[in-house]
């Protein structure tokens, strides 16, 4: 079996470097969380007498939350750094300072 056969459906395969595991976000979690966050924010705004439950609040906020959640989950801008990278960075910086 070739290396390419081991690569999952969501993974890329680099012809030179072999299988590359793609770091994936959580777009489904983001979309669901964003949708419900939009609904809850709409209710919060209504309860705190800032905006009634009009079209924009009931339809717009959940839609906005869904899209933003999907984007945040897909691109994961607050991505965790890998452990080995996090441990290696201070040492590397210390080496750079020493030199």
């Amino acid at each position: 079996m070739s290396a390419a056969d081991d690569v999952g459906m969501n993974d890329r395969f680099d012809a030179d470097a072999g299988p590359v595991v793609r770091r994936r976000g959580r777009p489904v979690l983001g979309a669901i969380a964003g949708l419900f966050l939009g609904i809850f924010v709409a209710v919060d705004l209504q309860q705190f007498a800032i905006r009634p439950l009009d079209n924009w609040s009931v339809l717009g906020l959940p839609t906005l939350g869904l899209v933003l959640g999907l984007a945040l989950g897909r691109f994961a801008p607050l991505r965790r750094r890998p452990r080995d990278e996090a441990q290696a960075t201070p040492a590397a910086e210390g080496t750079a300072d020493a030199s």
Binding site: G25, A33, F40, P52, L64, P77, R79
Partner: protein, 189 residues
């Protein structure tokens, strides 16, 4: 720090900033106002303050204080005689309105004005839970001779966190916000 890491951090900051800006600024846009259209007019007096069709924006609502024993005294009139009429009042929820009152009649006496008083506690007793917050109320009255429609904002004063709906929404916001944050952090490498 390399230039690539710095650029990545700037990109992440911009995405987060844009998200926060959109989430905070957009809901503060003013709601559209409607007032009353047609040959109808009216006022309601609550706790010594008189309200009319101009009270149709979130910043200028009809205020119902969180006190017991209040009475709403209302009067309404039409410029023309409307017979065989029907009407309704409802609370706006998105594209729909939840009806809270309906009426109909022949108006054989051809009345053009009406007035009455209504104890607010009676309305509170009809609700299964305490409600506070801002509500858009819309209504219509039409029949032979003319038709009217309009809307108003009603703010029921009180502590939102002391009501089941308000407390539940606050907890839901925190939980879903945390879940969104987890999604934005991606999977563990």
């Amino acid at each position: 720090m390399s230039a690539n890491i710095a650029a990545a951090r700037v990109r992440r900051f911009l995405v987060v900033a844009a998200t926060v800006t959109a989430a905070v600024a957009l809901p503060l846009a003013a709601a559209a106002s409607a007032g009353v259209s047609g040959p109808c007019d009216g006022t309601v007096t609550i706790d010594g303050r008189t309200y009319g069709p101009a009270n149709d924006t979130p910043g200028n609502p009809i205020v119902i204080p969180a006190e017991s024993g209040l009475v709403a005294e209302w009067e309404g009139h039409t410029d023309v005689v409307i017979t065989k009429h029907s009407g309704s009042v409802g609370v706006v929820v998105g594209p729909a309105a939840i009806p809270i009152a309906k009426w109909a009649g022949d108006n054989a006496e051809e009345a053009v004005e009406a007035s009455d008083s209504y104890p607010i506690d009676s309305a509170r007793d009809l609700l299964p839970v305490d409600l506070v917050g801002l509500y858009q109320v819309e209504g219509k009255h039409d029949g032979e001779g003319g038709s009217c429609s309009g809307s108003a904002m009603v703010r029921i004063e009180g502590n939102p966190l002391a009501t089941p709906v308000g407390a539940g929404a606050a907890v839901g916001t925190l939980v879903t916000g945390a879940a969104l944050g987890a999604a934005a952090m991606g999977r563990k490498p």
